[in-house]
């Protein structure tokens, strides 16, 4: 989770790098583009790698707290299963 928090900060710093290069002569727009898109790709890969464990954490939380109705089943007609209505829908768990 901490890695997920740090990632955007690292990304922001690295995105600023081309600005500094420009001041020292730089690699030209084409070079900067290659760098930026490469960095972008790395950020995406990192986020994808992190997303699986984070999704697990989200789901565990959700199960721990609200075992009842998901929002989709909320407006079902009166048939007994709707008892969870409202009671659980707004509380998907942390």
């Amino acid at each position: 989770m901490d890695a997920a928090r740090i990632l955007p900060v690292v990304g922001f710093v690295l995105i600023l790098l081309p600005v500094l290069w420009t001041h020292s002569g730089g690699f030209g727009t084409a070079g900067e583009a290659v760098y930026l898109f490469g960095l972008w790709g790395l950020l995406i890969v990192a986020a994808a790698l992190l997303s699986a464990p984070l999704r697990g954490a989200l789901r565990r939380d959700a199960q721990g707290n609200a075992p009842d109705a998901r929002p989709e089943t909320r407006t079902r007609p009166v048939d007994g299963t709707g008892v969870g209505t409202g009671g659980g829908a707004e509380r998907d768990g942390p």
Binding site: A4, A30, L58
Partner: protein
């Protein structure tokens, strides 16, 4: 290629979109009817694709123009959102969680809900969003007009007229699909699916053009890199300030833009989708911006000078002999523009109706009720009003967009227009961040900060964007108002030489934050605000403990009789079916039967949230407060908020959960006990009633037969007495028949005579038969004949008997001067529900449970003229028919609902149930 091909292609594309949207909608409805979630329609893929509504015509056309003018700067617009999504664990996760927990309908709703459900704050944000979105919509109209122009360079074409048609068409589409129904969750399956499809179209189109440029026009990536270096201009050099500022601005915009908030938070079906979108959406952004620079370089190389770089995507394939590709690019651009306009208009229309139109309407109704012009318990359905308000708002929004386009001349760079919108919506940021992370942020601070920031933005960026002498005079722009040079729009307080956008962003956000902080520090938050701030800032901690221990808006039970008023009000917003289902479920949750739960604080909170999903938090809160009064928050509640020791909370949560469970069990037990006692009393009174009922006719029969035995009776008298005896014995027989009938029904030994019939004819027959009761009264019957056409297979005779009984009762007891009876038929799966609703004064709550008992009569026996067995028999019949009969409260009169299966199953199957 000419307009003759282009216009049909565009129209055909829109019709196709329409089909996709309506198919998705229908599919969702079918699944919902079957009680299943529309899995595919609500999948992470669709969610991610719908987020791409961020990429509008600005991306599709404008980014290339932007790159041709300023080099790599365009990527900041996509890098900002990438950072925000990659860092979703920080902000987006919390935003979506709160959005779901509070049933938020829009960004204005979120902010107003957090700041004490204050509608004033909601109005400020709504107006800001409306103004800030206007240039953005103008941008889309301009791009569509330009793209038509690029194809038809030789044909005379009035861009303004074209834009007007486009605006009207888009308004129509949005109205047709965005405002068809009022979903309790404010989710639009059809539209979102269509948007997801458009996301694919625009991506494919841009990549196709890009691939053709790189591998068709140029000789692969290396060659295109060389060409980029060749055409590089001095202006392409990255500027520190703009680079950082734009990255920041784009990151803010991806959250605060009304349409982004709509797809990101409101339409989100599952929080875990965010985890996938956290990398998939940046990937989409990467893919869509990958070929922008190559296309720009190719445009600068291969096209003659003086072409509008915003149209390179289109003019490259068009002028270099690739009509098919040009058509694809045209449709891609159309996709990008339409998807933005549709979602933005829906999001804004929701805000306008929830924060402006409905509150105004409610206030006017309250005034009218105060004058006595309308009844204070008003049963009219509000959903029509809300929908119409939204339709009107959509028209207004697109009209404003068109107006901006027409006034600003429609010739500026697309990206520059879009950035004005970004900077405008960024004014929500301080209030939003404060809402999520700072308990001390207050309503005054939020209102002040947002208004000050908005004014600064209007003055330094929005109004000057029309150009000198359109709204702000050239003199004012050059020398400042009244010659005060330190107030010049582009050089506020003497800050000169800064890029106008950065200048505006800097000053507006600085003033915004300063006013927000100052306002929050000076003012003291109201109790509701403090409760809400805990629910927002500590959303994770609170969710971990039991909800019932944490702060809530309603801390006292409302009076018993207010439940019916609440039901009546909810029906106006949610619709009768949903509201009744919600109330019945809540009543069951409390261990009660029927439709009316105890109005406990817990129930009030849930109801408010349910309503907030439709009309926004502020309105929902105000409407409930109107009924239960201003009993809001107690000191104890505030203490609960203040003490944040997790242990105590958890402990008390468990205790409360247990005590609630005990209370529920106790209530069930006492209800059962009461029932038993009532039954015992009933049995006694049944015996005495029956003896009494039997005795009265017997007595008169005996008395008159004794007289007859006397010799001194005339012929006339004999006849008269014999008739009385005859009548009384008929009454006696009827009573015994009824009793016999009842006992047969109660034992389930009745033989049902199952046949086929049509419900419409059945009701006709019942109406005809019941006309003989009090024929002098003229009843107005309201029916929906179309709904009644339902084929039934059940015991028709018995069912008619029930209908006749209810109708006769209505004729007897409805106390209105102009009696009126509504018959509403609904078919739900294999069940039919028939409601009989009159406009009388209804049945008081304490009698509602009694009316189905034997010999229960609310009025005097002789007036009623029956033994009081009618409804008891009706209920037994309905149970035998596998259905039920119930009294439905809150309908503005006496209302009975008869439910039964379409096809009556054989007895064995019923017994097994």
């Amino acid at each position: 290629m000419t307009l003759n091909i282009l216009i049909p292609a565009a129209l055909g594309y829109v019709v196709f979109l329409f089909l996709i949207a309506s198919l998705a909608e229908r599919r969702a409805e079918v699944l919902r009817a079957a009680g299943r979630a529309p899995r595919f329609l609500r999948s992470p893929v669709i969610y991610t694709l719908s987020l791409s509504v961020y990429c509008t015509a600005w991306t599709f056309y404008g980014a290339v123009g932007y790159a041709a003018r300023s080099g790599l700067e365009y990527v900041t617009i996509y890098l900002g959102p990438t950072l925000v999504f990659v860092g979703w664990w920080w902000l987006l996760r919390k935003l979506v969680r709160i959005g779901k927990a509070q049933r938020v309908t829009s960004i204005a709703d979120l902010i107003s809900s957090r700041y004490g459900k204050s509608n004033a704050v909601g109005v400020i944000v709504t107006l800001l969003a409306l103004v800030a979105t206007t240039p953005y919509i103008a941008l889309q109209l301009q791009s569509i007009a330009l793209s038509f122009g690029a194809f038809a360079a030789d044909q005379p074409l009035a861009p303004k007229q074209l834009a007007l048609w486009v605006a009207a068409g888009l308004a129509l589409f949005t109205i047709l699909f965005g405002t068809r129904n009022l979903d309790a969750n404010e989710q639009h399956h059809g539209v979102v699916t269509a948007i997801a499809f458009e996301a694919v179209v625009k991506l494919v189109a841009l990549i196709a053009v890009g691939a053709w440029v790189v591998w068709g026009l140029a000789d692969g990536p290396a060659d295109i890199m060389a060409r980029i270096s060749e055409v590089e201009l001095p202006e392409w050099e990255i500027q520190m300030g703009r680079w950082m500022g734009l990255t920041f601005l784009a990151g803010v915009a991806v959250v605060t833009l009304p349409r982004m908030f709509q797809v990101l938070v409101v339409e989100n079906a599952d929080e875990t989708h965010l985890a996938i979108a956290s990398w998939a959406f940046p990937l989409y952004l990467l893919a869509i911006s990958l070929f922008v620079l190559p296309i720009a370089a190719a445009g600068l190389t291969f096209l003659p000078e003086g072409m509008n770089p915003d149209l390179f995507v289109l003019s490259l394939p068009h002028s270099l002999g690739q009509p098919g590709l040009a058509m694809l690019a045209f449709l891609g651009g159309l996709s990008a523009a339409t998807s933005m306009v549709i979602i933005a208009a829906i999001a804004l229309a929701t805000m306008m109706s929830n924060h402006i139109v409905v509150p105004l309407w409610l206030a006017s109704r309250r005034r009218a009720a105060g004058r006595g012009a309308i009844p204070s318990r008003d049963a009219s359905d509000m959903r029509g009003l809300v929908l119409n308000a939204r339709r009107l708002s959509i028209g207004v929004i697109l009209g404003l967009g068109y107006l901006y386009f027409a006034v600003s001349g429609g010739s500026r760079a697309l990206a520059a227009i879009g950035l004005i919108s970004f900077a405008g919506m960024a004014q929500v940021l301080p209030a939003l961040v404060g809402a999520l992370y700072w308990r001390g942020a207050s309503r005054i601070g939020a209102a002040l900060g947002t208004s000050v920031g908005t004014l600064a933005w209007l003055y330094t960026l929005f109004l000057p964007s029309f150009g000198p002498d359109v709204i702000l005079s050239a003199a004012l722009m050059n020398e400042g108002p009244f010659g005060l040079s330190w107030l010049r729009p582009h050089a506020l307080f003497g800050v000169e030489g800064l890029d106008p956008l950065l200048h505006a962003l800097f000053w507006s956000l600085l003033m915004n934050v300063a006013a927000f902080l100052a306002g929050s520090l000076v003012s003291f938050p109201s109790p509701v605000e403090r409760v809400q701030s805990a629910q927002f800032v500590n959303v994770y901690d609170l969710a971990a403990s039991d909800e019932s221990t944490v702060a809530r808006g309603w801390s006292h039970d409302a009076a018993e009789n207010e439940a019916e008023d609440l039901l009546a009000m909810s029906q106006r917003i949610l619709g009768a079916d949903v509201a009744l289902a919600f109330f019945a479920a809540a009543a069951r949750g409390q261990g009660k039967g029927g439709f009316l739960p105890d109005p406990t604080p817990d129930f009030l909170n849930r109801l408010e949230r349910e309503l907030a999903g439709s009309v926004g938090a502020a309105t929902a809160h105000a409407m409930i407060a109107q009924i239960v009064g201003g009993r809001l928050v107690t000191v104890a509640d505030l203490m609960a908020v203040a003490s944040e020791t997790a242990q105590i909370m958890e402990h008390s949560a468990q205790l409360e959960a247990k005590s609630e469970e005990l209370a529920r069990t106790a209530r069930q037990l006492s209800e059962a006990n009461e029932m038993l006692q009532r039954l015992s009393v009933q049995k006694d009174s049944f015996l005495s009633q029956i003896s009494h009922e039997l005795r009265t006719p017997m007595t008169s029969i005996r008395a008159f037969s004794e007289i007859l035995m006397d010799d001194e009776v005339t012929q006339d008298e004999t006849l008269r007495y014999a008739r009385i005896i005859h009548d009384e014995s008929i009454r006696l027989t009827r009573l015994l028949d009824d009793l016999l009938d009842l006992s047969v029904l109660e034992n389930g030994q009745v033989n049902l005579d199952i046949e086929d019939a049509n419900l419409h004819e059945l009701i006709d027959r019942a109406l005809m038969a019941s006309n003989s009761v009090q024929p002098q009264r003229d009843f107005v019957i309201r029916r929906q004949v179309a709904d009644e056409d339902i084929a039934l297979r059940t015991d028709i005779g018995r069912l008619t008997q029930v209908f006749i009984n209810i109708l006769s009762n209505a004729r007897k007891y409805c106390d209105s001067a102009q009696p009126e009876l509504r018959i509403v038929v609904r078919k739900r799966a294999a069940q039919v529900a028939v409601d009989f609703i009159d406009n009388g004064s209804g049945i008081p709550k304490q009698s509602q449970v009694l009316i189905f008992e034997k010999f229960a009569r609310l009025t005097d026996t002789h007036k009623a003229g029956g033994a009081g067995l009618g409804l008891a028999i009706c209920r037994e019949i309905m149970l035998n028919l596998g259905g039920d009969i119930a009294y439905v409260p809150g309908q503005g009169g006496t209302a009975f609902r008869v439910t039964f299966p379409l096809v009556l199953k054989p007895r064995a199957a019923r017994a097994a149930r």
